[in-house]
């Protein structure tokens, strides 16, 4: 575990003013994340997958109403999750629980037209495709060839037949589609500073710097506003990141609420969430951003995450 930079620790202290809560945060981010998978219901039912993995001696827990979410309680060898026959066949996707929340919140339906603007590596696209039972259409976009290759490989493995993959800068794609295609639902799982992923990627602590947050915040606002304009009236958008930085989270949602005919929706998720913050440093955000959801690792033994749900009026 790397030591956090003083400014990062200071920011976390502002976000988590309660000392005990903060200590729990720093305690859990020093622990490896739990092993979780998502059953790919395009290929197998959760019951059958559990039975197959049980035969291998894996102890599986399904703590949520969404039975496709599975926690592996057994100690596995390094790489064992990825090498298992059931993984190679596309029966499950190795996915952190917090990463599954965006699609639970978006709730895509079979038949809908969905845009996943920053789709690679495909955890959320494959999840959406499964929820939609391969019906309706997902346009899954990412911007560089390497990321597209990973996305495509995961889509194939999971048997996702209702996805069209495009390779463009997200903002540019939205400009091209504006006025020509309208979506029922959009996911903007934006590139971010990754503060929520310290458990799985401790090097985030080394790479963290406040300038990067400022730059990312600008990019995220451009992505979110470009995508929002492609929603049909009444359409919904999930904006999510795996970071705690308010500049990358509430600030983006507040910006949308201030500039567009957007209303915020409360999100019901199967894990503990906390309200979005409405003040950060010298900034005051729209009061309604409290309806966004912050996920802290110490609350559910997950990684950190953020989600906001916006509807176009």
């Amino acid at each position: 575990m790397y030591e956090p930079k003083p400014l990062f620790a200071e920011r976390i202290a502002k976000l988590l003013p309660d000392r005990e809560d903060r200590e729990k945060f720093w305690e859990i981010v020093r622990k490896e994340p739990i092993s979780s998978i998502r059953c790919n219901t395009l290929k197998i039912s959760p019951e059958k997958l559990k039975e197959k993995l049980g035969k291998k001696g894996w102890k599986i827990e399904q703590p949520y109403e969404n039975k496709e979410i599975m926690i592996i309680k057994s100690e596995l060898l390094p790489g064992e999750l990825g090498k298992a026959k059931e993984h190679l066949l596309g029966y499950y996707y190795v996915q952190e629980i917090s990463s599954m929340l965006s699609i639970l919140a978006l709730n895509p339906k079979p038949g809908e037209l969905i845009l996943d603007l920053c789709a690679s590596p495909g955890s959320k696209t494959t999840q959406a495709s499964a929820v939609m039972e391969n019906k309706g259409t997902i346009i899954a976009n990412d911007r560089d060839m390497g990321r597209i290759a990973i996305l495509s490989a995961n889509l194939e493995r999971c048997g996702c037949a209702n996805v069209i993959v495009s390779r463009m800068d997200g903002v540019q794609l939205c400009e091209r589609l504006k006025g020509k295609i309208e979506f029922d639902k959009i996911l903007v799982d934006a590139p971010c500073s990754g503060e929520g992923n310290i458990r799985s990627n401790p090097k985030t602590l080394l790479m963290w710097n406040p300038k990067m947050i400022k730059v990312l915040s600008g990019i995220q606002k451009k992505l979110a506003l470009s995508a929002f304009q492609l929603l049909k009236k009444g359409g919904e958008m999930i904006y999510s990141t795996c970071t705690h930085a308010p500049e990358e989270n509430e600030s983006v949602i507040s910006f949308l609420l201030a500039n567009f005919p957007a209303e915020i929706e409360k999100i019901n998720l199967p894990i503990k969430t906390r309200e979005g913050i409405i003040e950060w440093e010298d900034k005051k955000y729209n009061n309604k951003v409290k309806f966004t959801a912050r996920i802290y690792p110490q609350d559910n033994n997950t990684e950190g995450f953020f989600l906001g749900k916006i509807r176009k009026k």
């Binding site: 026959k85 066949l89 209702n162 390779r167 794609l173």
Partner: protein, 150 residues
């Protein structure tokens, strides 16, 4: 330009797949991908809508890799087999644990069989790939990224 399979070609393909594997219906839009490969799209966009999208965006893939067309038959992809598994009833070869492991390592199998040509390989109740049987061996077509790496 996006090239879709015409209904006549699709019907011929269905007939071939019926002969090979007992598959009677292909519930997908089929799109050409290179000279001999096909992709399958189950989504709601029409051919015209897809073509319009392809003019606006840089479309890399439509749907999933479905099959390769060979002179001596159709080689379905593993994932197409999974999506059509309820229809597959012919030319199935059942492998034991050792053979299955060998298959996942990417090796051709020594296997005596009356089946000649493309066959669906199963281990327990799982379809684990499509091979080409020649009487005493099965050629392995499992993609590299789906193999067990040593």
């Amino acid at each position: 330009m996006t090239e879709f399979i015409k209904s006549k070609e699709k019907k011929e393909m269905q007939e071939k797949l019926n002969q090979q594997f007992g598959i009677k219906e292909i519930p997908f839009l089929l799109v050409k991908s290179g000279k001999e490969k096909l992709r399958a799209f189950s989504g709601s966009l029409s051919k015209d809508e897809i073509s319009e999208l392809a003019n606006l965006a840089r479309v890399e893939n439509i749907g999933l890799y479905f099959a390769a067309i060979h002179e001596d038959g159709i080689r379905l992809s593993l994932d197409a087999c999974h999506l059509l598994q309820n229809q597959i009833s012919k030319n199935i070869i059942q492998l034991d644990d050792k053979q299955s492991l060998n298959w996942f390592k990417g090796n051709d199998l020594e296997f005596e069989s009356k089946i000649k040509g493309f066959a669906i390989l199963k281990h327990e109740d799982d379809i684990i790939g499509v091979g080409k049987a020649s009487g005493n061996s099965i050629k392995n077509f499992l993609p590299k990224e789906r193999r067990i790496k040593n």
